[in-house]
Symmetry: C2
Subunit: 751 residues, 2 copies
């Protein structure tokens, strides 16, 4: 085998001598692996534990696949079905086989790639569109161009790895019949897919660009970077998720896809689940551009936003590394995913070797088998890893950072995490959930964001695609911990309206760890109504755990019904109000998500504070909320009108306030204590909050007192109109005058 | 401090010289710790990692408590409340402080014990009954004598540890005013608690016996071993759980409590949750008897059943060490609990040093701080630990081993575990669930036993005691994976009837790993009806995972309605039959547990096999079951008539067959594949069972064919009347004659 490689090497060397310098100038591999990097990797083999382990695992996987033989079936299935999963596996294995060929110099991997590529070459030219017609942009190998693009991003790398090993004739045949037509198909033949600002297009751009870089095809590389100038698309049009295809004046191409969806803070407007998905094409193409076209200076582009976004993505995870399920997000997806392995390795290698990334890579337990992965594995080997400290952080949304954002408050070592969303719509994967929040104790969610309604890649559930409940439930406002007016979703649940608006940060202040505050306003979700939510994470010295104060102030031109749900996870332990559990369950409403809620209990406040205590994952939580005697307290459970059991049967407590224009909902959410089914010890199982009260509330100020069991007391005053830090405020409450600067005042009045 | 100890030592030595040998003959400590053992422990300190770690942890805990000061509040609360938890903590810390005093020779621990005991001495003589009146046997420090007995079991050990250190006068005062009256209170003053065969009484017996051993009080030791001869109780009477207090002719005392509830296999009739609870008094008192009264030969008693029961208890756990929730069992309780730490250490030390126990102790991560714990820690240190291999096992129930049992089938390294219950009633903690089963893949339950309806020690939930839903739901037959006739529970759900009966093993054969079978009959649950359930764990070479064949044959003198539920855990992926989901939810019935079930869907079979596929904890499962076109297929969910949210909202699929006398339900339960929300790969997500069919069914034989996707086929024939291994059988099916010996025949007919 070694000899054969040499023979081919000679043939190639001949090529180099015979043909012009310009055509053969680029050496291979050069895309992700580089000739120099491969030399270094070979030299270090056996000396870098995490790299060696990753290589061993990968070799076992590829060898097992090679043993099974090559299959490139005629496309026919959705994701979850055989042909889909087979072609997907093929491109993944091709890329890996390329890496193995380069590192191990064993030609069986090159032959495998070549043989499979020629099988694809043989079938591709006559391949019709994929028979499944659901997609707005049908692929050929897969039911959507998105997956075809995935294929080309991976196959480009495999092709790069055997480029020099192939004969010129073989290359010409592959490029003419497979690779170039493939790139054209997903771009100029599908501009509605390719020429947008969307994660789909990012994959398309990267695919076209990467094969262009390998083939030294400047036309393709330009098409990747800048899009198609005249795409012939009309303004408007809809994709399968309801996203608008052509927006007037919007640019396209890879750079536009970096410009638009990323905020200057590196927040990706669709949310972390899709950011994770998009990271791979963003960073792998960026790495390739860095290697082949350093003139583009891609890693410095937009103030190094691509590198910055990797840290941001990790910031958008809980203590177990699972991403917050903002917008369409599948719960359980975490930074252990392969895409984030790539992202972390590349960000480490090209972003100043931040040692915090090494501790994430340790948890991931694998590295890329390239220069970046080697650098990471060597850093870990050399003991350079430092803990990744997740702090409180405010992440702006929008390409200019001026379209709202996501505020994350944290206390301790992720002992308590609050995720507060006041962002833009988030493109077609956005939910109508302005000013919503979720909360975590370490890695356990206690008040949940439902996430998406989809069983990704599980064929039996609608082909593994979005289920209709994603629209009828998951995107609706009532599916979230936010305020719903008159049982209609924000922006009427209409994408066109939602996309034009975003909430506005009022202020974010995490400078004092004992009282961190994020506050934002939403004026467009319900015309004529302003919502203003302020959430403060407060730690009292005599409480073991911090708690969150939640002030939802709403002003409207007319009287409305307001619903404020809290989607607690776990089992009810106690409620301090009277309620009736119906003997029959009815859906709470007919539309806008309400049709999916069973009403399990209906009560009225007994006191001026309603309290609910629940147990989740061995920990106790209490919600204490100010109520009046006209309020209704509703226990709901998801599951009505869900004949396919597509939704989880999760519960909520909903505060319903009718016939009200202006009001304020004030709540404290409080983790306390623990329970172990092994020791059977219930520690601190009672709420530590004795009473909360709205002491003052007008257009200018809202003042809340919080009293703990034992008489500890604090006062929180919010300035509702002026968030300037320097602004002086003065307010008299019950004969006592308070003076302060800035948007809020907080004092412990009784220790 | 050291000096003071010496002075006291001298005083004691004087006592030894001055008073008669008989009274002062017993040295202290002698109960659990021994003088000799303590010497050995001191000599090994610092050389035995697990022992040293356990000591360090315990010292930190006790020192923190000592720093808080002593509190012995006037009793007032149920479990979960302050006074309950405080007194509970007190006795735990007292015992630990005694150990520390002996090992570390630091008198601060002796003073702490002495001071607290005298506080108890000061309050006890005037202490009335506990103010909470719920218990059939109210304690003084706690709401029930059970907890008072816990107190004395622990305090006896603490007292033993400082016995020699106290002056004679101090001992006399403590014994006269506190310890002896305490022992009398829980025994002769509460015979309804003390003089039974029940886990409560075991604690009482151990408490009285242990303090008797320390005080060298033969009367108490005899009362502990043999009970109270004339207890003045009338036949009958009920405890809080509905158990009968006085049963004619039943013995009492510790030995009776070893005799009666333990089967010769070491199965404790109440189930593993209570076995775990009872293990501590059984084994700690046994250890004390072994030390002080070796003439009793307690560890050899009843063919060494106490030692045997420890292995049995571990056999009754899943791969994570969590006990099967048979009868009243709280899910999550595991062999990590302190009681099992004691049991494992004692069983290792006194039961032949089985190295398998060492691997369990490693997982427990702690050892007893006594001779047994030292032996275990040294064994681990010396690398003697061996994996605890859980095999398929049949455990008989009943003191004579002739009252049914529990059959456990396992494949691989606990890859699949079937728990099949055909036991006796299980005393007052028994459920009406003859021939029910649960199933686990590793540590994840896929078809569940609901367990108890109780939040142990969580005060807000009915004082942490049994909830009424334990009776109305958890004990009822329909709460289990077993057959229910005419919507009534087995034995009408009446304890008096249930206690008189048990199911009968038909056969158990785990000799062939590829087809392991357990089969049992129940003739008394419904008079006039015989149920015969046979469950086979089968592994096919071309299936990655084993599956379970379930044959439930029922014969009745009259026509009935039969319900056979399967309580699957997880989310529905697919069903192969048509069903309607109602727009309103109604309870399925009015009583016997049916009042707690919402009907979420109602369908009819589309084919002669109904199939349900679900996803749980990242793994796919399918149920395939033979149905006829008159059957109803009901999706149910727990939660109706549960206004306090005491029940989990778990689902089931129920097969309902009406107007039928004799029939057979045949099902295959099949784990297959996996799903990861990180890789988003769905592997093997479809059922591998193509078809199952009852080929033959009469009084003598039932024959079932199982066909896999791909045409693999097997035949299983059950002899319904004769389980003898040697018996010859002959049966003709479809012109083909089969001949075999023994109760079943299994053959792969088409590979």
């Amino acid at each position: 085998m070694g000899m054969l490689r040499y023979v081919r090497g000679v043939v190639l060397a001949g090529c180099l001598l015979l043909i012009s310098n310009q055509i053969c100038s680029q050496e291979h591999p050069s895309l992700v692996l580089t000739k120099e990097g491969v030399q270094k990797i070979r030299a270090e083999l056996g000396n870098v534990p995490l790299f060696d382990a990753s290589l061993k695992k990968l070799k076992e996987e590829v060898d097992a696949e090679i043993a099974l033989g090559i299959d490139t079936p005629i496309p026919k299935d959705f994701s979850g079905g055989y042909t889909h999963e087979r072609h997907k596996k093929n491109f993944v294995i091709l890329q890996k086989a390329g890496v193995l060929f380069q590192i191990l110099e064993d030609e069986k991997y090159a032959h495998y790639i070549k043989d499979m590529l020629f099988q694809y070459e043989g079938m591709y030219k006559d391949l019709p569109l994929h028979p499944k017609e659901r997609s707005y942009a049908r692929g050929k190998l897969f039911w959507q161009c998105l997956n075809d693009s995935n294929w080309l991003v991976y196959v480009s790398q495999a092709y790069d790895c055997i480029y020099d090993w192939l004969t010129k004739k073989e290359r010409k045949q592959l490029e003419k019949n497979l690779l170039r037509p493939f790139a054209d198909f997903i771009s100029i033949e599908n501009p509605q897919f390719y020429n947008r600002v969307h994660n789909h297009s990012t994959w398309g751009n990267a695919a076209v660009g990467m094969i262009g870089l390998v083939m030294d095809d400047d036309e393709l590389v330009d098409r990747a970077l800048y899009g198609i100038e005249d795409d012939g698309l009309e303004i408007g049009g809809k994709d399968n998720d309801g996203g608008t295809i052509k927006i007037e004046g919007q640019k396209s191409g890879f750079l536009a896809n970096v410009d638009e969806p990323f905020s200057p803070d590196g927040y990706y407007t669709e949310g972390p689940y899709y950011q994770r998905y998009a990271m791979y094409p963003f960073l792998i193409f960026a790495q390739a551009l860095h290697n082949v076209r350093p003139d583009v200076k891609i890693f410095e582009y937009k103030d190094s936003v691509l590198l910055k976004s990797v840290k941001t993505l990790i910031d958008l995870s809980d203590a177990d590394g699972e991403f917050f399920a903002l917008n369409d997000g599948q719960k359980g997806m975490s930074y252990a995913s392969n895409q984030v392995v790539s992202a972390v390795d590349i960000a480490y290698n090209f972003g100043g070797k931040d040692p915090q990334f090494l501790s994430i890579a340790e948890k991931q337990g694998q590295v890329l088998l390239d220069d970046s992965g080697l650098a990471v594995a060597m850093g870990i080997r050399d003991g350079k890893a430092k803990p990744f400290i997740k702090e409180s952080v405010n992440l702006t949304d929008g390409s200019d950072g001026k379209q709202g954002g996501v505020g994350i408050l944290r206390y301790g070592n992720e002992d308590l995490t609050l995720v507060f969303k006041y962002a833009a719509q988030g493109l077609s994967h956005g939910h109508y959930d302005k000013l919503s929040f979720s909360m975590f104790e370490k890695g356990d969610e206690l008040l949940q964001d439902y996430g998406l309604a989809r069983f990704v890649n599980i064929g039996q559930k609608g082909g593994g695609n979005y289920l209709k409940e994603n629209t009828t439930w998951a995107k609706q406002s009532i599916a979230h911990n936010t305020l719903v007016q008159n049982e209609t979703s924000h922006f009427k649940g209409e994408y066109e309206i939602g996309s034009q608006h975003h909430s506005e940060l009022y202020f974010f202040d995490a400078s004092n760890k004992e009282v961190q505050v994020v506050s934002a306003k939403e004026k467009s979700a319900y015309p004529g109504t302003e919502m203003h939510r302020t959430m403060a994470m407060i730690k009292w010295p005599h409480f073991k755990k911090p708690f969150v104060l939640d002030i939802m102030k709403v002003n409207s031109e007319k009287e409305n019904q307001y619903d404020l749900p809290f989607y607690f996870l776990g089992q009810v332990i106690e409620a301090n109000f009277e309620y009736k559990a119906p003997t029959m369950l009815h859906a709470l409403g007919k539309e806008n998500g309400y049709q999916h809620l069973w009403l399990e209990g209906k009560g009225v406040p007994t006191l001026d504070n309603a309290k609910l205590l629940w147990l989740n994952q061995g920990k106790f939580y209490s919600l204490t909320t100010t109520v009046n005697n006209m309020d209704e307290l509703l226990f709901t459970r998801i599951g009505a009108n869900d004949p396919q059991f597509n939704l989880r049967r999760d519960a909520a407590l909903m505060i319903r306030r009718k016939n009200t224009a202006n009001t304020v909902f004030v709540s404290v959410i409080e983790p306390h204590g623990s329970y172990s089914p092994v020791s059977e010890l219930a520690l601190d199982s009672n709420s530590n909050i004795a009473h909360i009260e709205v002491l003052f509330d007008d257009d200018n100020y809202t003042a809340v007192s919080i009293e703990g069991v034992g008489g500890h007391k604090a006062l929180f005053i919010l300035s509702n109109r002026e968030a300037l830090k320097t602004e002086e405020h003065k307010l008299q409450i019950n004969d006592k005058e308070y003076q302060w600067n800035g948007p809020f005042y907080y004092i412990i009045t009784n220790k």
